[in-house]
């Protein structure tokens, strides 16, 4: 446990120095923020999915709960984002409690489908209610905290990093605690765990609450960072799937798997989106801009990045079913 915490501390310290090394570079910092956010989200999901084996397909609901609550509090009640973050945690936990009491009675396919249904109900309700800004979303022009300029990127970089460190530390702590052992017992065999007298619902809910709270903080930070949210940005099923994909590609149930998944997938998505590859080939003179291939790379590849994402997903599931970390060691 101590060793793992030390590694987390060393990695965090190195990550904390990064913005100083790369200097003022909002584009790169922005991508690093996205990476840290995805790493935190996948790690938070991993607490429920990796330990307890409960694969939630509806984590966007908690992310959205954090984002929406924060924006509503900021725009109507209190200009200090910290209040928003705390309120977001409360709302996410309430949703998690309600969700938990419904979906934890179900297993297997049904659990996954039910978690989607709950998340869709949250999304559609947010879209239909007036106080959430409905289809128009919520736009905020300025946010500040204790005189810190929240227009710059570094506060969010460190905020996300802190969230990731907290999430990883909780994961380590859980791994050594009674709760952690119970959750692993539940993952291996629910019926056997129940016959040992483990209160299934209680421990599953506990894992969900921790996971939901951490996810909502990521949502709050995202909302204050982007300063505009609507249901398609923060409550969409796509987001839930991205979180799971990140965790699975890195390695479910491992400490660093979700982080590695994020470090790979986020830059990959950005490279595909911004068509860096096509540009690079043209710039290096390997492909002429006016040739057929050049035009295809510049014009069509831009349409194809979601396609590439699909292909990568299929290849990963077929050839790396236990994730990248699964390659190096046996996953329990």
């Amino acid at each position: 446990m101590k060793k793992q915490l030390t590694i987390i501390a060393i990695v965090a310290a190195a990550a904390a120095l990064l913005p100083i090394i790369i200097g003022e570079n909002p584009y790169i910092t922005g991508i690093m923020i996205s990476m840290l956010m995805m790493a935190a989200l996948a790690s938070a999901w991993n607490i429920l999915g990796g330990f307890a084996g409960q694969y939630s397909f509806g984590h966007a609901a908690y992310f959205g709960a954090g984002a929406y609550t924060t924006m509503i509090v900021l725009s109507r009640l209190n200009p200090n984002p910290l209040f928003g973050i705390v309120a977001g945690i409360i709302v996410a936990c309430i949703i998690a409690l309600v969700t938990g009491s419904i979906v934890f009675r179900l297993r297997g396919h049904y659990f996954g489908l039910a978690s989607i249904a709950v998340a869709e109900i949250v999304r559609l309700s947010t879209l239909n209610f007036e106080f959430t800004g409905g289809a128009q979303g919520i736009l905020l022009s300025d946010v500040s905290l204790w005189g810190i300029d929240l227009n710059s990127k570094n506060p969010f970089y460190y905020g996300m990093l802190l969230l990731l460190v907290v999430t990883l530390s909780i994961t380590v702590w859980l791994g050594k605690s009674k709760t952690g052992y119970y959750l692993q017992a539940i993952r291996e065999d629910q019926d056997a765990a129940a016959s040992l007298g483990i209160n299934l619902a209680f421990y599953k809910k506990k894992a969900l609450l921790i996971s939901a709270a951490l996810t909502s903080v990521a949502g709050s930070l995202y909302a204050v960072y982007i300063r505009f949210i609507d249901t398609s940005a923060v409550l969409d099923l796509r987001l839930s799937i991205e979180i799971i994909l990140t965790a699975i590609i890195g390695g479910v149930g491992t400490l660093w798997g979700p982080v590695i998944g994020a470090l790979l997938l986020v830059p990959l998505a950005e490279v595909l989106r911004s068509n860096v590859l096509g540009d690079l080939l043209v710039k290096l003179g390997l492909v002429s801009e006016t040739s057929g291939i050049g035009i295809f790379l510049k014009e069509n590849l831009a349409h194809a990045h979601v396609l590439a994402y699909g292909i990568i997903t299929v290849l990963c599931i077929l050839y790396l079913p236990k994730g990248i970390l699964g390659l190096f060691r046996r996953v329990k």
Binding site: Y27, G30, Q136, I226, A233, R273, S274, H305, V306
Partner: protein
């Protein structure tokens, strides 16, 4: 004195070819190439590409850096930051969706690189006083205003709303309700729907039961065709169908003559309007892309043309901001000037047009100074 003058002239003459040879200015273009709005995004892509082609033909060179936001504000922000900090563009055209445009607009003053929004409708974008944000198209409130003005003379009494639960749908209907209140129109039905449903008959039956004079519609793409098909099926016949932009202004919709005839819609642009080059643009666009240009294509064309022409003359982002603010243009979107009025900053006070489908063709029917045909009222099957 004379020698000095001569040497300056000589320097200019000598520098001229160098200037012409110098690297062309860089302009960014953020658009929804993928994602939910990809269909409209494609129209913008085409319009912008045609503008670049036309400028090249005139000898104006520019390097265009295209970015896809997929309709996601986070990606739009990454795209903008990449453009201004890495690619070194001095101006950006886009993004298309209101959400993305909102997020990028709020950062434009931080980086001091002008943003010209070609077609996003949300009012807020140019209402926050951002110095570097300019918008070519008319915002959401104008859609309903111009439609209601067009039918005012016929003295309708009641109105029903049927609209998509999207930002544009909700914003437009909100302003329509305000305008209706001013006109003394009574609201008899309000049906908001989720996009992509196969069956709108229950909603339309409710509207039919309320028997309104006007049915105000906001729908995207094919939803518009679906709705009007089912409206015909259940026999909904108000005195006028008023479609606010989007799905009611596509060539595809007009081709469905059985259901679309006499539907009235608001648009930013038509091909029969008497603005310079509009008709010619439509012909060339059709020849190149084998389909009718939508108003989004025209908006993107004109935004790109204005951005590039001004940027080439300015050379730097700061000078470009000043030039955009001071300049005025005239082209396929009529006269363009970025002005401050009624709470807006750097907003082109674009006059919207009302068109009606008559015999499978969009005809401009309002305002009178831009139109050749008269509005047919009441609607009949």
């Amino acid at each position: 004195m004379k020698r000095k003058f001569l040497s300056i002239v000589a320097a200019i003459v000598m520098a001229f070819p160098l200037l012409a040879q110098a690297a062309p200015v860089k302009i960014g273009f953020i658009n929804s190439i993928t994602g939910k709005e990809a269909q409209i995004g494609e129209n913008l892509t085409n319009g912008a590409a045609m503008a670049i082609e036309d400028l090249k033909a005139k000898g104006i060179q520019v390097e265009l850096v295209k970015e896809d936001d997929g309709g996601d504000p986070k990606n739009a922000l990454a795209a903008y930051e990449k453009l201004v900090t890495r690619d070194g563009v001095i101006g950006v055209v886009g993004p298309y969706t209101s959400g993305c445009a909102n997020v990028v607009a709020s950062r434009a003053d931080q980086y001091n690189v002008p943003l010209l929004v070609p077609a996003a409708a949300k009012e807020e974008i140019t209402m926050k006083g951002y110095k570097n944000v300019f918008r070519l198209n008319a915002p959401a409130n104008v859609y309903s205003m111009v439609l209601m003005d067009a039918v005012k003379t016929f003295k309708p009494k009641t109105i029903a709303y049927v609209y998509a639960a999207t930002d544009f749908g909700v914003s437009t209907v909100k302003t329509a309700q305000e305008n209706a209140l001013k006109m003394g129109l009574k609201e008899v039905a309000n049906e908001k729907y989720q996009q992509g449903q196969p069956d709108y008959r229950p909603s339309l039956s409710k509207v039919k039961a309320a028997n309104p004079d006007l049915v105000f519609l906001v729908s995207y793409d094919a939803d518009a065709i679906l709705l009007m098909r089912q409206a015909k099926e259940i026999g909904l016949t108000p005195k006028a169908f008023l479609g606010a932009g989007a799905g009611y202004t596509t060539a595809q919709f007009a081709q469905q003559t059985e259901i679309s005839n006499l539907v009235v819609s608001a648009t930013q642009w038509t091909d029969d309007v008497n603005w310079t080059g509009a008709a010619d643009f439509a012909i060339r666009y059709k020849a190149k892309y084998a389909k009718e240009p939508s108003y989004h294509a025209a908006c993107a064309y004109e935004a790109m043309r204005i951005m590039v022409e001004t940027a080439v003359k300015s050379g730097t982002a700061a000078k470009l901001q000043v030039a955009l603010k001071a300049g005025s243009w005239s082209g396929i979107m009529g006269p363009v000037k970025f002005a401050n009025y009624g709470g807006f900053t750097n907003q082109n006070n674009h006059p919207m047009l009302v068109q009606q489908i008559q015999n499978g063709k969009y005809e401009t029917v309002y305002p009178v100074q831009f139109s050749k045909k008269k509005l047919v009222y009441p609607f009949k099957r």
